[in-house]
Symmetry: C2
Subunit: 424 residues, 2 copies
C-alpha cells in the first residue's frame, strides 16, 4: 500500500507516518513546514526537542530500516506540483493533516483568520481537484474535528456525521395541499463551529460531500477529539523521532497546558467554571484509528464515511482535578476568552472504531506516564510566558477579559460550544 501523508511533519502526521511505515506502507510525507514557521512567528517551541525533517527521516531509516520520502510542497499554493506528485507516486491512499489547526491562532487577528481560511480551504480543495484530474482511484482520509458539531443537542448522543431527522410534508407529488405527513431524512449533522479554525472544517465537509457525489471520490472524514499524549511506540524508539509537545496559548491543548503548569509547580488555570466538556483520544489510538480507516474505505459512489474519533469526554475542571490529584498541583479559575457556553454536556457515538477493534488508552491510566516522561523530563526547556492564551474571540470577549488573564484552557481542537441552538 502506497500512502501519502500530507502534513506529515506535524504533531499527528509524523507519528502516523511512522506507524504506517512500520506496518509496511510505502510512505511519502508532504509538508511545507509551515508549522515550524509559525513556531518562529510566535516565539514558541515544542517542549520536546524536534529534529529537522531530514534528521527525523534518517533516524527512522536507522532504527527501522525503512525509507520515507519527503516532499516540501504547499498544498494551498502549488496545485501543479501537487498534481505532478500524485501522478508520479500513484498512491492507493492519502491522509490529509495539512491544515492550520489551532483555534486561538485562527482568532488572533484578521490576518490570521484569512490565513486559516485561505490555507485550509485551498489545501483541501486543491487535493480533491487534483485527485479528479489525475484520474486515479485514491482513498482520501481527512482529519476533521468534533468541533463541527458544536454544542450537540441535549438529550441526544452526537451521531457519526449524519443525523436522522423528520420533516413535515404538506403537499402531494404535484404540489397540491394534503394532510401533513412526516418524511424521514438523514442529513449532515447541522454544524455550529466555535472558531474560524473549526469553521474551515465545516467548509471541508461540504467540499467532501460534493466531490463524493459528483466525482465518486472515496473519502473518509475523521471527526477527531482533542489529542492527548505525546509519543507512540515508534516515536519512543529514538530521541530524534520524538513528537511535539505544544503548551503555548495558541497550539497547546488544554491538557498539555495543565501538565506543563503542574510540572513547574504553577496552579492550573481553568477558564470560567471549567464546565465545558471536551472529547479526547490518545495519540497512540489516533494512529491506530487512521490505520483502521485506511483498511475500511468506502466504495466509489458512497457518501463520505464519517467516524467520530474520540474515546472519552471530560469536563475541563474534572480533568484539572485529575491532574491535581496525580501531581499535587492546585487549580485557579480565570475568565474565559472564548465566546462559548460556560457549561455543556457532550455525549458522543464512537461505535465504529470500537467495533473495528480499537482498544482505547484511558486518561486515568496514561496520564501519569505523560507527566513523568514528557512534562517533567523536559521542563527545563519550558518558557512559561508562552502559556497564556492571548487570542480573544470578538469585541465582547475583548472587553470582558484583560489579555493578561486570558487563561490557559483554550484547547486547540475541541468542540467550542456557544449558547445558540445547534445548527444556527
Amino acid at each position: 500500500m502506497k500512502t501519502i501523508v500530507f502534513g506529515g511533519d506535524g504533531f499527528c502526521g509524523w507519528p502516523t507516518a511512522l506507524h504506517l511505515s512500520a506496518r509496511g506502507h510505502e510512505v511519502v510525507i508532504v509538508d511545507n513546514l509551515s508549522r515550524r514557521a509559525i513556531d518562529a512567528e510566535l516565539g514558541a517551541e515544542s517542549l520536546t526537542p524536534i529534529s529537522s525533517i531530514e534528521e527525523r527521516i534518517a533516524a527512522w531509516h536507522e532504527v527501522s530500516g525503512r525509507t520515507i520520502e519527503f516532499v516540501d510542497l504547499d498544498l494551498a499554493q502549488d496545485p501543479e506540483g501537487l498534481l505532478a506528485l500524485i501522478a508520479r507516486t500513484a498512491p492507493d491512499s492519502m491522509v490529509h493533516f495539512a491544515e492550520q489547526r489551532a483555534a486561538p491562532y485562527s482568532m488572533k487577528s484578521a490576518g490570521h483568520k484569512r490565513y486559516t481560511v485561505d490555507n485550509n480551504v485551498n489545501a483541501t480543495h486543491n487535493l480533491l481537484a487534483a485527485v479528479v484530474e489525475s484520474g486515479l482511484d485514491v482513498h482520501l482520509v481527512h482529519l476533521g474535528t468534533m468541533g463541527v458539531y458544536g454544542y450537540g443537542t441535549a438529550g441526544m448522543k452526537i451521531p457519526e456525521g449524519y443525523l436522522d431527522v423528520q420533516v413535515t410534508a404538506t403537499e402531494d407529488a404535484e404540489g397540491n395541499p394534503v394532510d401533513p405527513y412526516p418524511i424521514d431524512q438523514q442529513i449532515l449533522y447541522p454544524t455550529n463551529p466555535g472558531s474560524i479554525y473549526h469553521m474551515t472544517k465545516v467548509l471541508d465537509q461540504h467540499l467532501f460531500a460534493f466531490y463524493a457525489k459528483n466525482d465518486r471520490l472515496r473519502i473518509t472524514d475523521l471527526h477527531q477529539g482533542i489529542i492527548w499524549g505525546t509519543n507512540t511506540a515508534e516515536t519512543k524508539q529514538d530521541e530524534r523521532l520524538v513528537n511535539r509537545f505544544d503548551y503555548d496559548g495558541d497550539y497547546g491543548t488544554v491538557l498539555n497546558r495543565f501538565l506543563m503548569q503542574a510540572a513547574v509547580g504553577y496552579p492550573l488555570t481553568v477558564h470560567g467554571t471549567g464546565g465545558q466538556t471536551r472529547a479526547f483520544i490518545h495519540i497512540q489510538d489516533m494512529v491506530r484509528c487512521v490505520e483502521i480507516a485506511l483498511a475500511n474505505p468506502p466504495e466509489a459512489g458512497d457518501r463520505v464515511k464519517i467516524f467520530n474519533q474520540m474515546t472519552e469526554t471530560h469536563r475541563v475542571r474534572d480533568l484539572a482535578a485529575l491532574i491535581c490529584e496525580i501531581t499535587g498541583a492546585t487549580m485557579e479559575l480565570v475568565p474565559n476568552p472564548r465566546q462559548e457556553s460556560p457549561e455543556n454536556e457532550l455525549h458522543v457515538v464512537n461505535a465504529t472504531f470500537l467495533d473495528l477493534g480499537l482498544q482505547p488508552t484511558t486518561l486515568s491510566e496514561g496520564l501519569l506516564l505523560e507527566v513523568e516522561e514528557t512534562a517533567k523530563r523536559y521542563r527545563e526547556r519550558a518558557d512559561l510566558s508562552r502559556i497564556p492564551a492571548r487570542s480573544l474571540w470578538n469585541r465582547t470577549t475583548h472587553e470582558g477579559v484583560p489579555p493578561s488573564l486570558a487563561g490557559t484552557e483554550a484547547g486547540a481542537a475541541g468542540p467550542a460550544a456557544v449558547p445558540t441552538a445547534a445548527g444556527r
Copy 2:
C-alpha cells in the same frame, strides 16, 4: 445612505448600482473587472455593447446628475486595500455580487474549479473579516443562489433558508436513557449543490452563520433564482448604460440562449427531457428586491436573514415552448452534460419579498419585449459558435456526451438537481 456595491460592473451589480443611485444612495462600485477578462479568455462577448466602466459612470452622471465612485480592487487578493476602503468610506451597507457565478465555467477544468473556490471563498471571507476589523456596523447583503437547496424535498415547499425538523431524543439532561421524545429544531436547510460554483455559495452560508454569531454582524443572504431580462428603468436611459446579455455556453442562462437561438432562427436545444424545473426572477425585480432587503436589515445578534429571491418556476421544456409560441421557433432535445436528475419539481416559499411589496414582472408578459428589444435588435453581433455548453460535469458525463452535443440549457445559476437525497 452610503452603499458599496461589490461586483458593481457585473450583470446584476451594474443595474443595482444605478437603481440605488437613482434613489439617492451614495454609491461606490468596487470591481476588479475580472468578468471582462473572462470574456476575453472565452473569446465571448455580451450581445449588447458594453461601455467601459468609466464611460458608464460618466454617462450616468450626464443622464441623472448623480455621481458614482469606482474603485478597481480585488476582494480576494487585496484585503488591506479592502479594509482601507471600508475605513475611508464608512458605508451604511454593502451589496456583495463579487464572485465567479457561472456553473459551467466552474466545471471547465481543475484550474477553473480552483479559481472559483479561491476567488469566491476569499472574497466573501475577506469582506467579513474586514468589516469586523473596521469596527463599523455595516449591513451586508449577499447574493446567494436557489441552487444551494439542490433538489428540495418532494412534498415540501423550499422554505426561506431555515428548515423545521424534528429529532428524537433518548436521554435526559444527565445522559440517562429515557423513553424517546421529539425535539423541534430549526436548521439551515441541508444543502445539495450541483456544481463547484453552487458549492461556493454553500461555503458562503457557513461563513455568514459564523460571523453573525461570533461578531454579531448584520447579514442578509438572498437565495436568488435565475435572472431573466436585460435592462431596468435606469439602464434603458442611454445605450452607454445598457446591461449585459450573455448567451455563451458558460455564462448564458437557459433563457438567454433560447432567445438567441430563436432570434437567429435556430431550433432551441433542450437538455435531456427538459424536465428540470428552475426558479426565475426578472432583473427589474432583482434590483427592487435588493433595495427592499437594504431597507429591512436584521438586528445585530440576529441570525442571518435569508430570503428566496424568485418569482416563478418553470420546467425548461415549458420555457422553450413559450418562446417557440412567441417567436415561431422549433425545439430539439439533446443529451444533458450535467450530472442531475432528468425531472424535478420545485416549490418555493417567497413570501417575504411579496409581503414587503414586490410586484413581480411575469415571464409571459415580459418575454416578447426581451425578444424584440434585445435578442433581435442586436442579433447581428451574435457569434453562434459560442452557444453550446462545453463544460462537462465529471467523467460520466464526459463519456456520455460528445462535446459538440453538450447543448445549451445549462443555466448558470439555477438549482441543479441531483438524484440523491437532499442533505447529502
